[in-house]
C-alpha cells in the first residue's frame, strides 16, 4: 500500500498530501503527527465519501469508497 509520510508537516499539509495521492491510488497509509490530522481526515472522509481509520497514534488508513 502506498505510504504518504507527512510527519513534521503542519495542517493542512498532511490532508493535502493524502488527497493528492488518492487521485492515483484507491487506498493509502498516512503518517502524520500534526494534531489536526485525525479530526480533519474524518471530515475529509465524510465530505469525499471515503473511509478513514486511525491505525496508530500517528498512522492513518484512507480509502476511496467502494461503489
Amino acid at each position: 500500500m502506498k505510504i504518504v509520510d507527512a510527519r513534521g508537516k503542519r495542517c493542512p499539509a498532511p490532508i493535502l498530501a493524502a488527497a493528492y495521492m488518492l487521485k492515483t491510488v484507491n487506498e493509502l497509509t498516512l503518517l502524520a503527527d500534526d494534531p489536526a490530522t485525525w479530526p480533519d481526515l474524518q471530515a475529509f472522509a465524510r465530505m469525499r465519501n471515503c473511509k478513514a481509520e486511525k491505525v496508530g497514534e500517528h498512522e492513518f488508513y484512507l480509502a476511496k469508497a467502494q461503489n
Partner: protein, 337 residues
C-alpha cells in the same frame, strides 16, 4: 452615545458609591442596575456585577458546585469551563464532557447530572444549545456571554453569565445572574457576606447599561443580520464546493458564522481578505498560538483547516456580504488551483 455616557460618568460617577458623600454615584449605580435587570428580563436582586470577566464562569459554576456533585459540560464549551471541570475532577468531584454531533448539539446527557453548563451561543460557531432536550433534574448554569440579548434564558435556570461586549458595551464588565441565592455560595475566600468583590468600574457599568438600552431599541437590526447571514450561507454553500458551515441558520446566533474550506489554509484566506480590507478570524491550527486546532470544530467533526469565522456587525449591507463572498471565492479558487 455609549462613549458619551462613558465620558460623562467618568466625570460624575467616579466616586465610590458606597460612601455617604457620593449619592450621585449611588443613584447612577442603582439606575443602571435597574435598567440592566429590566432589559435582561431579570429582577435587580438577581444580578451581580463583576469587573473581572475572566472569572465570571468560575464564579457562576463554582458557586453552585458542591464537592461530590456531577458536573456536565459540552465538548464545545469554552476552555475556561473545561478547566473548571478538570479542577472539579481533580478535587474529587465528577465531571463529564458531553459529546456533540455535527450540528453542535449534545448527543445525549447523563441521567445523573447535578449541574449542567448550557451554552446559549458558542463564541466560535454561534451554535445555540437546544434547550428542549436538557435534563430536567440538573441545575443549569447558562453561558450567555456571547448571546447576550439574542437568546432568552431557558424557563428554568440557576445561574447565567452575561458580558457587556455582547451588546456593544465596553470590555471589563460581566453580569452574573443567580436565580436563588440560597443555592449559591461565594467560591472564593471572603471577609464578609458580600457575594461578589464589587471591584468593577462604575463608569464602565453605566456605559454597559446605556449600550444595552440601545441594543434593545435596535433589536430589529438582529433580524436584518439573520437575513444577511442566510444570504451569506446560501451563496457560500451554492457557489463554493466542499465547504463545512458549522451549525444551521436557525440554530445559530445571527451574527457569527464559521466556515471551513477543504484543502485550503485558513491563514491564507485571512491574508487574502485582509488585502480587501475585510477582517475575519479563524479557528484553524495555523492561526492558533499553540498550533492546536479549534477544540470546538474538532468536537463537532467539522473540518478544522481552512476555517474562517465571520462576525457581522450592525450596518453591514448585502453589498458587503457579496463583496466578502467574491473575495472568499477568489482566495479558495487560487489555493485549490
Amino acid at each position: 452615545m455609549v462613549l458619551a455616557a462613558l465620558n460623562a460618568s467618568f466625570g460624575e460617577a467616579w466616586a465610590d458609591p458606597g460612601k455617604i458623600t457620593s449619592s450621585k454615584a449611588a443613584s447612577y449605580l442603582n439606575q443602571s442596575l435597574q435598567s440592566i435587570a429590566y432589559n435582561l428580563g431579570l429582577s435587580p436582586r438577581q444580578i451581580h456585577v463583576l469587573g473581572e470577566p475572566g472569572l465570571a464562569h468560575f464564579y457562576a459554576i463554582q458557586g453552585l458546585l458542591t464537592k461530590n456533585a456531577h458536573f456536565g459540560y459540552l465538548a464545545t464549551d469554552r476552555q475556561t469551563i473545561h478547566a473548571i471541570a478538570r479542577n472539579h475532577h481533580n478535587s474529587g468531584g465528577r465531571s463529564t464532557e458531553i459529546a456533540v454531533d455535527l450540528s453542535g448539539q449534545a448527543k445525549s446527557y447523563p441521567s445523573d447530572l447535578d449541574l449542567l453548563s448550557v451554552n446559549l451561543g458558542n463564541v466560535e460557531t454561534g451554535v445555540i444549545a437546544a434547550t428542549d432536550t436538557l435534563p430536567e433534574n440538573a441545575m443549569r448554569v447558562c453561558d450567555a456571554s456571547t448571546s447576550g440579548l439574542l437568546v432568552p434564558l431557558p424557563e428554568f435556570w440557576d445561574a447565567a453569565v452575561f458580558n457587556s461586549q455582547s451588546w456593544g458595551g465596553p470590555a471589563g464588565i460581566s453580569i452574573i445572574a443567580i436565580a436563588d441565592e440560597k443555592k449559591w455560595r461565594n467560591p472564593l475566600p471572603h471577609l464578609d457576606a458580600s457575594l461578589f468583590p464589587g471591584t468593577y468600574s462604575l463608569p464602565l457599568f453605566i456605559a454597559s447599561a446605556v449600550a444595552l438600552e440601545m441594543e434593545v431599541k435596535e433589536i430589529g437590526e438582529q433580524r436584518k443580520l439573520r437575513e444577511l447571514s442566510s444570504h451569506l450561507r446560501d451563496r457560500i454553500s451554492s457557489e463554493i464546493s466542499e465547504v463545512d458551515i458549522a451549525g444551521d441558520l436557525e440554530g445559530s446566533l445571527p451574527h457569527i458564522t464559521s466556515m471551513s474550506f477543504l484543502l485550503c489554509h485558513g491563514e491564507e484566506i485571512l491574508r487574502d481578505l485582509a488585502k480587501e480590507s475585510i477582517l475575519v478570524d479563524s479557528g484553524s491550527a495555523c492561526i492558533a498560538a499553540d498550533m492546536q486546532p479549534s477544540h470546538v470544530l474538532a468536537a463537532m467533526g467539522v473540518l478544522t483547516h481552512g476555517n474562517i469565522r465571520i462576525t457581522l456587525h450592525r450596518g453591514v449591507t448585502v453589498e458587503d456580504i457579496n463583496e466578502l463572498v467574491e473575495a472568499i471565492k477568489k482566495s479558495v479558487a487560487k489555493q485549490r488551483s
